[in-house]
Amino acid sequence: MKMFDYSRADSPEAAVAAGGRFIAGGTNLLDLMKLQIETPEKLVDISRLDLARIEERDDGGLTIGALVPNSDLAADARVIRGYPVLSRALLAGASGQLRNKATTGGNLLQRTRCYYFYDTAMPCNKRVPGSGCAAQGGFNRILAVLGTSAACIATHPSDMAVAMRALDATIVTLQPDGDRRRIPIGDFYRLPGDTPQIETVLAPGELITHVELPPPPRGRQLYRKVRDRASYAFALVSVAGIVSVEEGKIASAALAFGGLGPMPWRDARVEAALLGQAPSTAVFETAADALLAEAKGQGSNDFKIPLTRRVLIACLRDLTGNPA
């Protein structure tokens, strides 16, 4: 690990003024620092800031402090009651030990687990911009089929963020100049394009302080994760679904996907294909067509396209009470 300066911040304002890389749970950052994939010169420890609470807002939503551990968020009675898709997504990710340490803000900022990002002997445009992408033409079973670019086919690894995308979460930040910003999660992540090293709209030194959830949505919620082993593995495909049916028609639908793209994926065309329709397999197939129309396999991840179709249709059946 490369040497760095370390300081502990005693307020969010002091943290952003310190002008370094933030560390809280550290479960992803230290992993990457050991491999010298991340080499921050200055670490600012934010783990003791007063940002580890979950609070109800007057509008019925929740404000989650950026330092709330994944375990605590998953087990929170208000989350279980109003946002079970979020509890389920969190519990599907990582291990008990990691969930105890990993934080809400850090989970949003996880880096990809693309094998070539991790292998410093190989080209990777995300790790060394301009060096190339060894994943294309390489082992890409776990990598993306949507939102990719010629420079990068990495996936975003989070389960939590997929649920938050379906829940229309808002990310609240503190900027180095002291101003606050509220970023809808749909605007938070960036497509790789030709700059895959830039993954979010956060400015250098901008600190996530909270994540806001709107009031609990109507309808059924589920999180389904398909992976290569039964536990403690990243998603090949995951679905966070929230669907309500009223008077025999789909009245609302929010569907987000993990394992498919460089960000927690959501496509308004999928939901448009469902809204106002009587639930049926034919309607669900239309929604899957909308999701996958532009999907592009890379060889060893081609299977994700038919797999996603089947998983989405199965989820929609469960969410709408098993129509014909």
Binding site: D31, S71, Q97, S231
Partner: protein, 165 residues
């Protein structure tokens, strides 16, 4: 920096880059906690910090000022085994033994999480936990055993959970 390890106040000045695992093993000579993968994948380094199980390899020692750390050495001794240690012996829950300290510290933390009513990925209900072998396997999935003593590890943990229920 100071902190408490197994009930004793300790002081150390580790390298700023040292993990909590390295602090325990290299500075305090508490070598019961094992270094396996050093990347949070195997769980051999599991310890309890302020009562919660974590991977000690993926946290900086300097971030643990004033924390209360419990390692395998603090759970029991050869003369006075912790119930989980005794159950692992009884059920032959290991072969080479390298993962065992992590398995046992993890199980201590895991049983406490169950007692708090925390659900898991395999819980049918998020509010009513029915403890089962499937729950043990899921909740212990962060601890790998290359000898694959898993069935006996599950037996040992079930034994202790039933005794304390």
């Amino acid at each position: 920096m100071h902190f408490t390890v197994n009930g004793q106040a300790r002081e150390a000045e580790p390298d700023i880059r040292a993990s909590l695992l390295d602090l325990l093993r290299e500075h305090l000579a508490l070598t019961g906690t094992k270094k396996g993968c050093d990347h949070g994948q195997c769980g051999a380094c599991t310890v309890l910090v302020n009562g919660r199980r974590i991977n000690s390899c993926l946290t900086l020692a300097v971030m643990h000022q004033d924390d209360d750390i419990l390692t395998i050495e603090g759970l029991g001794s050869a003369e006075n085994l912790h119930p989980l240690q005794a159950a692992f012996v009884k059920h032959d829950g290991f072969q080479c033994g390298y993962c065992t300290p992590g398995q046992i510290c993890s199980a201590v933390g895991m049983l406490d999480e169950v007692a708090k009513g925390w659900p898991s990925h395999v819980s049918a209900s998020l509010t009513e936990i029915e403890f089962s072998d499937e729950e043990i396997s899921e909740r212990m999935s962060g601890n790998l055993c290359r000898c694959s003593a898993y069935p006996n590890i599950v037996d040992a943990i079930r034994d202790v959970s039933e005794a304390s229920a």
